[in-house]
């Protein structure tokens, strides 16, 4: 007496079956999913991140360049006015003076 596939199928289906009400389990899984972050490694997402990162870098370079250019113009005007004075001041600090006040008469109006 041998059992064929059909008979095994019938026998197995006569066995115990799991609970078929999935509603509570569904709620449990949905609740758990809400607390579980998804992996953000999709191709689309990484491309978007890369694109936004590139735009931030480009903006930084552009603003630095503009700032440097403007600085050059303002710097030129300032140096035109101050070059001579600053050079003279620096020179006065660095050149040793042989001027001596010890042999001079006191001021007439100043000291009593």
């Amino acid at each position: 007496m041998d059992m064929n596939k059909q008979e095994i199928q019938e026998l197995l289906k006569a066995g115990r079956k799991p609970d078929t009400d999935m509603s509570l389990l569904q709620v449990r899984i949905l609740k758990s999913a809400k607390q579980t972050p998804q992996d953000g490694l999709s191709t689309g997402a990484s491309y978007t991140n890369f694109a936004s990162w590139k735009s931030v870098v480009a903006t930084l370079i552009l603003t630095t360049g503009i700032g440097f250019g403007l600085g050059q113009f303002q710097g030129q005007a300032a140096s035109e006015n101050t070059d001579y004075l600053s050079a003279e001041a620096l020179l006065s600090f660095s050149i040793a003076s042989d001027y001596d006040e010890t042999g001079l008469e006191p001021d007439q109006e100043g000291d009593p």
Binding site: L11, L12, P18, M22, I29, A33, K34, P37, Q38, S42
Partner: protein, 201 residues
């Protein structure tokens, strides 16, 4: 990375029946997860239940499968294996893990599922008979090696094609057929003595 190739090594030629909800799932829509569960939760839980023989553990496994699907959906690569195949594959691996960790999932004597409410004696007797028969089938299934039990579950309970079952088990179709044949032979030997009473009961 999910979305692996089929067991034969070639990309899956069929259109994925779950393709319509995968985009929603990848963008974090819980309604898409709800639809996915409407389609597959009962089958996945049933598959896990037949493998581990325990309602609570089967529910835990089913939950883990769908949370993995939710988590990894943005990485899914369409055009390869079907999403449902991947779900079954994860289920299979989780079942193997559980069975490995707890080798005595099935107790020596499977407890009878007797309703404890007061019932007429005749009904109780009938139910006891039925439960005893079911217990014999469960025991016979539980005594199969894990891989043979998985092969039997996919074929006889889930009624999947041999190609799909082989993909889930990550083996060639020939190997699946052989596994199934061995599983059936073991079951046949164990159930032969009870065949008549089981089929009549």
């Amino acid at each position: 990375m999910i979305g692996t190739r089929s067991a034969s090594g070639s990309p899956h030629p069929q259109v994925d029946p779950d393709a319509d909800i995968l985009q929603g799932l990848a963008s974090g829509q819980s309604s898409a997860l709800g639809t996915l569960m409407d389609r597959h939760l009962a089958a996945i839980k049933s598959c896990a239940w037949h493998m581990v023989g325990d309602e609570m553990i089967a529910e835990d496994i089913a939950q883990e499968v769908f949370i993995k699907a939710w988590k990894q959906a943005p990485n899914w690569q369409p055009g390869r294996a079907k999403f449902s195949t991947w779900l079954y594959r994860v289920t299979k691996n989780l079942c193997y893990d559980r069975l490995r960790k707890k080798t005595e999932i099935y107790p020596e004597i499977i407890p009878d599922m007797i309703d404890e409410r007061p019932l007429a004696n005749q009904v109780v007797e009938l139910r006891q008979t039925s439960t005893a028969q079911k217990t014999k089938i469960d025991r016979a299934m539980a005594q199969l090696p894990d891989r043979q039990r998985m092969a039997i579950t996919l074929c006889h309970y889930r009624e999947l094609s041999q190609i799909e079952a082989a993909e889930i088990m990550e083996i060639r179709v020939r190997a699946y057929e052989s596994l199934l044949a061995r599983g059936r032979k073991s079951l046949r030997e164990q159930l032969k003595r009870h065949k008549r009473e089981l089929l009549e009961g």
